[in-house]
Each structure stands twice: as C-alpha cells, then as structure tokens.
C-alpha cells in the first residue's frame, strides 16, 4: 500500500470524516440569511439596519474610539467599590448595635392596642385607607355611597401606584433637569410632601389636631409646595439654562 492510491471513491469503512469541503455552490451564512423568507427574512433585514445604525452612531463626532478600557476595573474601581461597600455595611452594623429592636407582647386578639400601625414605610398606604371622608355619596342613591369605605381606600392605593407607573408615558421629551421642566418637578415635590402628610394622617390619633383640619392640610400642603416649586423654578429658569444649555441644545435639540 502506498499513498499513491487514488482515494476519489467514497470510503465506506468509517475511517473518513464524511465532511464535504464547500465548493462555490455552497452558500455561506450571510447568503443563507439573505435567502430566508417571511419573518426570519424580516429579522435579518432589521438586524442589518440596526447594525448600520450602530455603525453610523459610532462615526458621529461625540463617539470616541477606545481600544483600551477607560478606567481600570482592577484595582482602582474595585478598591473604590470595596471601600464604599464596607463603609455602608459598617453603617448598618453600627446602627443595629446602637439601636436594637424591641419585642412587643405576644399576639392577643382580645386586647386591641391603643395604636395599630404597620412599619413606617407603609404609613402612606395606611393613610390612604383612611380617606373615607372623601368617598363620594350619591344623592341619586339616597345618600348611599357607591362603594364601601375600605374598598375606596384600597382603590386609592391602586390609583397612586398606577399614576407613578405611567409617569414615563405622560412626561416625554428630552428635558431632564427640574429647571427644564418646572411642572413635573412641582408634581414630584407635591408627591413627596403628600407622602409625608398622608403618613401624618395615618397616625392622626397621635397628632394633637382636629382631624378635619388635618385632612384639609393633608391636601393643602402638597398643593402649596407644588405651587412654590413651580414658581421658584420658573424664576430660575431663564438665566440658569442660558449659560448651561447653549452647547447642549445645539447638539441635541429638544423635541
């Protein structure tokens, strides 16, 4: 036997690889993708487009080529993160050593405590449950209320959370800073103050104040804060934004 034996015929003894070398007729991957139909064709076209878009973006003036990482992750970034994290964890440990929690009496259904309260972060939600005075009664139904007071309270929670959730779909555009959008900054400040006043309403039996007055103030304070914020930001806006945004808006015009 020698290597001069012709091996053109297909070997069937299992010793070959069975892999056929690609000839000119064999499509490569990009050709295969181009030949696809229907949804996969659409996908291919879209990806090509977005790749081109990426390429264009990269060639814009505000992109810089960086073939080396900018700020070294190790050790610089890691050391900084480690320091911040240890400091923060240390703060938690310090707090827990200094102010350990109390343990109240065991559960007793026969003895209602003077004050029933959840943890502080649920006061706002608890306060929204106490808005029965605002539950409208219909004269058509003979002064009856449309829904039970407690249903109204749960619904108030849903409304508040739902409003926060749709904020990005209500407030559009490229404005970011509070001075650029005084209205939404005012809404935010009113919301912050409302979350505090509604928390105060939830502990109304601890606050030495007429409960009707407290209810009025709960809604009045946020509105006043919002109005003040709006006025202040509108006043600041002109001078502040002129200096700051000349270059910014030249490159990125507002929608």
């Amino acid at each position: 036997m020698s290597d001069n034996d012709t091996n053109d015929d297909v070997r069937t003894d299992g010793s070959g690889t069975g892999i056929v070398a690609p000839d000119d007729e064999t499509p490569d991957w990009s050709e295969r993708k181009e030949r696809t139909q229907g949804l996969s064709r659409l996908t291919y076209e879209y990806f090509e487009r977005s790749r081109r878009e990426d390429q264009d973006l990269r060639q814009q003036s505000d992109y810089v080529e960086r073939d080396v990482l900018a700020f070294p992750a190790w050790p610089h970034e890691m050391m900084r993160n480690l320091a911040l994290t240890s400091f923060f964890v240390g703060m938690i440990l310090f707090l827990s050593a200094a102010l350990p929690p109390e343990m109240p009496a065991p559960a007793n259904a026969n003895q209602t405590p003077a004050i029933i309260l959840p943890d502080w972060y649920l006061y706002w939600s608890f306060g929204l449950l106490k808005l029965q005075n605002l539950n409208p009664s219909l004269s058509l139904l003979g002064g009856q209320k449309l829904m039970a007071d407690r249903t109204y309270g749960v619904l108030a929670n849903v409304v508040v959370v739902g409003f926060v959730a749709i904020v990005p779909f209500l407030n559009k555009g490229s404005a970011r800073r509070p001075v650029e959008q005084p209205f939404w900054a005012a809404v935010g400040m009113a919301g912050v103050v409302f979350s505090l006043t509604i928390a105060a309403l939830s502990v109304q039996n601890l606050i030495p104040m007429d409960s009707n007055l407290l209810l009025d103030l709960t809604f009045l304070f946020p509105i006043v804060t919002g109005a003040i914020t709006y006025a202040a930001l509108r006043t600041m806006r002109e001078g502040y934004m002129f200096n700051l945004n000349r270059r910014y808006y030249r490159l990125r015009p507002p929608k």
């Binding site: 900018a70 923060f88 938690i92 009496a105 065991p106 559960a107 959840p118 943890d119 972060y121 935010g188």
Partner: protein, 267 residues
Amino acid sequence: MSLERKDDHDHNGWMESRELTLLETIYLTTLMWLDKRLRVVDYLELLEDLYYKVNMQMPKSHTEQYNLDNKFWYWYPLYALGSFSTISYIVAAISGALLGFYYAPAAAASDGTMTVAYESVMIIMGQLNLGYFLRSVHRWSAQVMVAAVFLHMLRVYFTGAYKEPREINWIIGIILISLTLVFGYTGYLLPWSQLSFWAGQIGVEMSLSIPLIGEWVAQLMFGGFTLSQSTLQRMYILHVFFLPFITTAIIAVHIGIVWMQGIAEPH
C-alpha cells in the same frame, strides 16, 4: 511510514517541541483535556467577542461631552442609592439566612400566650450568642433597604432618568418597590407579637375589601379570613422562599437593563 495516521493537530507533539515550565505544562494539559471534551475554545471565543463588543467603543459620557463636571458634582452621591439598596439586600439575605437556623413559624395562637414563633425569637434575642445583634442587623438592613429604595426612586424622578429608553426599568422599579414592601410586611408578621397580629388584621381586611377577588386573595395570602397558624406559615414561606427568588431575579433584570442601557447621567 508509520502505521499510525499522522495527526494534523498533534497537540502533545507541539507541547513537547516547546520548552515550557511546569506550570505552563500543567495549564496546557488541563486546558487540552477540557477542550477535547467540552470544546471550551468556542465559548472562549464567544466571551472574547462579547468583551470586545462591550469595551471597544464607548460614547463620551455626558459630563465629558459638555464639560459639566464642575456643575453637577452634587448629583453624584445620589447615584449610589441603587447600589446601597442592593448591598443592604445582600446584608439582609445573609443575616436572614442565619436567623432562619433558629426561627420556627409554629403554633400561632392569639390569646396572649407565648407561641413557638414568639418563643424562638425570644431565644434568638436572649440566649443565642450574638443573636440579638443578628436580629438587629436583619431589621436595620431591611429598614435601610426600604429607605434607600424610596430615595433611589426620588433621584430617578428628579433627574428625569425614567425617560425614553428607560420606561421599562421604571416600571420594573415600581414592581421592585412593591416587592420590598411586601418583604417588609411579611417579615413584620413573623415574630407574631401584638404589632404583627394587628398589622396582619389590617392586611386581611385590606384584601377582603378588594372588589370581586377579595375573598380569594385573603385565602391565598393569609390562609383564611381570620389570623391563624396557616397565616403565619404562609407569611413565612412567602418571606423565605417566594419573595427571595422573585426579588433576586427581578433585581438581576433591573441591574442588567441598567448595564445594557448605561447610566442616565445628570444633566
């Protein structure tokens, strides 16, 4: 001519032809052994590709582009609030896992006697070495996490970071805040003290007052219309099983999206 077929990829021969140190030999042998079985090289290539995709080109940061460093440095500390909530979540997870060795969610009664759950918390606080501190750490890290999460939301709102490409992450953030609150609430109920009991009472009444599905929700979450052993058990399983898995997964998605979209820098 040898009887053995010539190997084009004679890695061992190649290795012997080179002068390698012992360390290099061991490394290469291990790598080749693994690669023969798992074809590691393909995956390394994938990783390398990913690495260059991520790192080759980065846009100028906003502050770089507009020379804003001197104007907006005061926003930057507030950009740490997201990390702070994650860190305190990790601290709470570790201390909570340790507390779980000693706590038993058993025999909830509501007649003012000490239940097994209450007793086990008392044992943790009174007799276990560093137990009181452990419970304190768990409670405080939870409080700090809630506070950090709320402040994080305010920062995102007031710097407009929820805008156009980031709406999904804003909504995921709202889901995460709600999960954090539910985490806190279920944990609040576990010692089965007076506060826990009456907070649970409010919870049952809240779920009962949901229109149409109220009774079903009360059954599902509280195991009945009055507080009982099944309430405590459900709160426990929610707190140590369902919520950790769900919350950790959603936090991973949340941070992953931030990584993909980049941090919305202060303007």
